[in-house]
């Protein structure tokens, strides 16, 4: 039964939920925020009737005084923005206790709006789109229904108005209410559409008078250090992190498929337990060159695009990449990057530059969110085995200090003996590497994510000689150390391997669980050559993991759409030229102090999705509480319940009550209607049914008022008749 007050309450609840959902879309708060409104809504439903208790009002006064005292502390503890957000949350909690009056509903809507604003300035995830839509809908409904309620309360007439349609038929109150709700639904749609249209066509300008918002620094999956005893948890994480298209390849498919190595960070330094970066210093203005380049390099070092002259004779592959969260190490690009250009966005000050460490990786500098779409061109470097086999042991291209780093290893003698044994037939460095790779790929070793515990010192020795089971980190480290032992300068490389091809888009999706560690060895005169000792993993997602995989793919695409076309929307009528002129006239000054002020935001915190179990439990708990509250405060029963009835009379009564409920569900007002009138309302036109219904009526009346009988079987049979009637009537409507 639709009820004006309950619908209004529902709309206000939606507003509260949207506000908190907006907060939940900010990484800092996390999705736990979305549970808070459920608790508040339950609280409101419970304390609805307790408004008159003095204790409740005193309680509210006490907590508001306490919070007022807490406010300055909160500013110091959390920062101004967070203090304001928490104040708004407190006000919402305060208003949720007790009954929702018209005034407090308006206030709650305003507070929800503030929450959304608070989320908007903290670079939220695309989830904010849902929160915005929810808030708009709830605003439309709440305002309209609150207006109707206020008008209704102002009425002094004792009897309600009677509305007759053009044919003179009196219109049901319930029918009227449905019309109101239907109109509101249409208005909501119109509001959403109109909002979108206005968004597209509002004249835009970017004044920047009060500075620009500072964003959170995001922490990404790949790190600059790899510890050998810590497992990489993202192995199991099938969330999509990269979306890659190869516009120049046929059907977007890269051939060969095993060329899908995405380099991110090179880790050259090994200290016995951990791999880390090594920065080679070089004179200013120059890059420490490791690879041979044609003389007179054309190098663009930093800016919106970087490039170097391509080496001749190598295959160039163009890529178009979207990364949701660029690692701090470098932009993931296919093997040897030659050119990277990031898509222009005048507002977000991002630049790329060649890694000064001489890796030939490209670093992204951004103060805002590290989402990016970029174009890249890579050289596919596949030296042929003969050239490689010809390379000698002497390496003169690299500096001595670098070489020392690249050759350091701490393998035990037993391990070394084993390595010698494996590579006894190899003479050239390439043959050594090949022997080692074959050995690690062979039946002696097992690639698994279940790691047996490794000793804290010499873990690779244990891996190589005892356990011989492990994941890519161990394999790569083992290969690198073994090669180093044999005198080949090697290092490990952090990045992604592989990608899922999606034929409908002709694009690849790279997932978090494709993070990989492999090895690069330096060959004199050739350069760094890739070796990957880990066998290909057989991990395929099944069941729930598969669903999550598909879901994260869709999410990634949705996020791409959001960031490219909505957040990055550059359309509308731009009035920027005016602003530019103004800014040029008043350049400098003022914004520095403001920037410092805006740095006042909270520290970085990684948010993780809470286990579904907690959420399910929370929902169940809330549902139980709500259900109990509903039962407690249900409307009164009829005044005739005190009369004692026989069993037959009870059956008859159940029959008619069921009919009444069915009619009310269809929207008919059944107040003050006798059984005969109810059945007439439920009747259809065919004569056959009339007869059945009059029989039903006669049975009911005889049993209920005339001392007749109605056994349970009779009841069940008659019930069937009445249900049938209602179903047909519903179709008519």
């Amino acid at each position: 039964m639709v009820n004006l007050q309950q619908t209004t309450r529902g709309a206000v609840y939606l507003a509260i939920f949207s506000g908190f959902l907006a907060l939940a879309s900010v990484r800092v708060y996390g999705l736990l925020m979305a549970v808070v409104p459920v608790i508040l809504i339950a609280l409101n439903l419970l304390t609805e009737r307790w408004e008159t208790f003095r204790a409740l009002r005193q309680f509210k006064t006490v907590i508001s005084i306490l919070y007022a005292v807490f406010i300055p502390i909160s500013v110091v503890l959390m920062g101004l923005l967070q203090a304001v957000v928490s104040l708004v949350i407190f006000i919402i909690c305060y208003l949720s206790i007790g009954r929702l009056t018209i005034k407090s509903s308006y206030e709650l809507l305003l507070m929800a709006f503030f929450l959304v604003l608070g989320a908007v300035v903290q670079s939220p995830e695309p989830l904010i789109a849902v929160a915005l839509a929810g808030l708009l809908l709830s605003v439309v409904w709440s305002f309209a229904l609150l207006t109707v309620q206020a008008d209704r309360q102002a009425a002094t007439a004792a009897r309600p108005a009677v509305v007759l349609n053009a044919q003179g038929k009196v219109l049901d109150d319930i029918w009227q209410l449905w019309h109101v709700l239907g109109t509101l639904a249409l208005v909501s749609v119109a509001a959403l559409v109109l909002g979108g249209v206005l968004f597209l066509f509002t004249p835009r300008v970017e004044a920047g008078i009060f500075g620009r918002a500072d964003y959170q620094r995001a922490i990404t999956g790949l790190t600059d250090r790899v510890r050998l005893d810590g497992g990489m948890s993202i192995y199991q994480d099938t969330s999509a992190v990269m979306h890659v298209e190869f516009p120049e390849e046929p059907e977007g498919v890269l051939i060969p498929a095993d060329a899908l190595y995405w380099r991110v960070t090179t880790l050259s330094r090994f200290d016995g337990a951990e791999w880390s970066r090594y920065q080679e210093t070089a004179p200013r203005g120059e890059l420490p060159i490791i690879w041979p380049f044609a003389a007179g390099n054309n190098l663009v070092q930093i800016g919106k695009a970087v490039q170097r002259d391509p080496n001749p004779g190598r295959r160039l592959v163009r890529q178009e990449i979207f990364v949701d969260d660029v690692p701090t190490g470098a932009l993931p690009v296919l093997d040897l990057v030659q050119y990277v250009a990031i898509e222009g966005d005048e507002r977000n000050p991002m630049t790329v530059q060649w890694d000064p460490g001489g890796d030939y990786t490209v670093i992204l500098n951004a103060r805002g969110p590290r989402r990016l779409t970029y174009q890249a061109i890579s050289e596919l470097f596949q030296p042929d085995p003969e050239t490689l086999a010809a390379a000698g042991w002497e390496v003169t291209d690299l500096s001595q200090s670098f070489l020392n780093v690249l050759l350091y290893q701490d393998l035990l003698e037993s391990t070394q003996a084993r390595i010698d044994e494996v590579t006894r037939d190899a003479q050239t460095p390439y043959q050594v590497m090949k022997a080692l790779v074959d050995w690690l790929n062979g039946p002696d070793f097992l690639y698994t994510l279940d790691l047996p515990p490794l000793p804290p010192t010499h873990p690779i020795d244990a891996f190589l000689t005892q356990t011989r089971r492990g994941h890519c980190e161990l394999f790569a480290s083992a290969l690198a150390l073994a090669a180093r032992y044999k005198g080949i300068p090697t290092r490990v490389v952090n990045g992604y391997r592989g990608g899922d091809y999606n034929p409908s888009e002709q694009a690849y999706i790279v997932r978090a669980n494709m993070a990989h560690l492999w090895v690069e060895a330096y060959f004199q005169g050739i350069g760094w050559v890739r070796f990957d000792p880990s066998p290909r993993s057989d991990y395929t997602a099944t069941g729930l993991a598969y669903i999550r995989q598909r879901w994260s793919q869709q999410l990634l695409l949705a996020k791409m759409f959001w960031y490219r076309n909505v957040m990055g929307f550059q359309g509308g009528w731009r009035l920027d030229t005016l602003m530019e002129r103004w800014r040029n006239e008043h350049s400098g000054g003022g914004s520095k102090a403001l920037e410092a002020f805006l740095e006042f935001t909270s520290p970085d915190r990684r948010s993780r999705f809470i286990l579904p179990a907690t959420l399910i439990f929370g929902v169940l708990f809330a549902g139980t509480v709500l259900g109990l509250a509903w039962r407690m405060f249900r409307k009164d029963h009829s005044p005739y319940d005190r009369v004692m009835l026989t069993l037959h009379q009870r059956h008859a009564r159940r029959l008619i009550r069921g009919l009444r409920r069915q009619l009310e569900r269809v929207g008919v007002d059944t107040r003050g209607l006798t059984a005969e009138e109810l059945l007439r309302k439920a009747a259809g036109t065919p004569a056959v049914d009339q007869e059945k219904l009059s029989r039903l009526l006669a049975c009911y009346e005889q049993a209920r008022f005339g001392g007749g009988t109605m056994t349970f079987r009779d009841f069940w049979r008659l019930r069937g008749i009445s249900i049938l009637r209602i179903a047909e009537r519903r179709q008519d409507r």
């Binding site: 915005l132 309209a144 109707v148 008008d151 009425a155 509305v163 007759l164 109101v180 835009r204 300008v205």
Partner: protein, 369 residues
Amino acid sequence: MRYISVNPIRAVFRKLAGRWTTAGLVMNLITVLLLLSAWNTGENLLYIILGGTLGLLLISSILGRINLSGLDLTVETADAVHRGDPLSAHVELRSRRWLLSSFSIRIILEGDTAAQAVAHLLRIPPRSRAQVDLDLCFNRRGEHRLINCRLRSAFPFGFYVREKRFPLENSVLVYPMVYPVSISPFERGMGAMVRARRSDEDGDEYFSLREYQPGDDIRRIVWRVSARLGTLVVREMGLGTLKTVIILLDDSGVRTPEDADRFETAVEYAASLAAAFLHKQYDVGTAAGYTAGIPPARGSFQEHRLLEWFARIQPAKTADGDHLLADRLLKLRAEPVRILCVSHRLNPAELELPQSCSVITPVEVGADG
């Protein structure tokens, strides 16, 4: 005289007035702030929110304007009502539109002297009628008017309240409150003043017996006496007791507001007295110093005429009307009527009425209740 006075008012609306509500002002403020900050930062999210608020304001203005258009109003009221009883006004709203419904309209009926009634209409579909009954209370007797019927709506969002005004021409006569009074103290002294007269007509008090004459109504034959006497004897009825009363109302000498209040009390008492006599099948008429009175008659129609007279009578402001009352009384004494004088004065001696006329004053009224 009928209950429903058919006074249909067509939509003669003058102006669609309106004002912003608090919510509307806040919305405007938010929109302006959003616009400024969006222009400042260029943040597309703020533009989205701005689009939303602008959209809401636009929808509010369009729908609000449409909501009150195409509505016609008819107001029917009773012609008359007693003071203190609510006047039932039947308002019918008709929608001339073809497509859209009107929602959440407040119907405000205004009478003079600040009488007001408000009804709420949730929805009126296109080409439909809505009927509602409103009760207006008037606190003073006399002629009153219904001034306006306003339609007020804040639909859709309550940002802006619009109003449409329909001037009305309904007039209502408010009768004085009539309460039960006991007339037995007056009945007792009824026969004393005037000589009884014989009449063939309706008096129902036994007067005398006489012989049957051809043409007499045989229902009047007194059978018992005729049997005793041996001849037919008829009963002659006469005006044994006077069944005609004239209520003389003192309508002069009202100078101060206290006098006016007492005058009102006096009028109500006089009206109640008249009603009581009428219900006891007396012929009742009225007279006053300045205003012309109503000749005596009986029946429910006469009751209406008297109530109307009592409703409309206004006191004369001048001071020299005192003697007019006495003149009137002298004229009336020639008729076979019983005269009851009701006055508001504290000192009835001012009126210089003959001794035999009983004057009822406010003090006594208070005692009577």
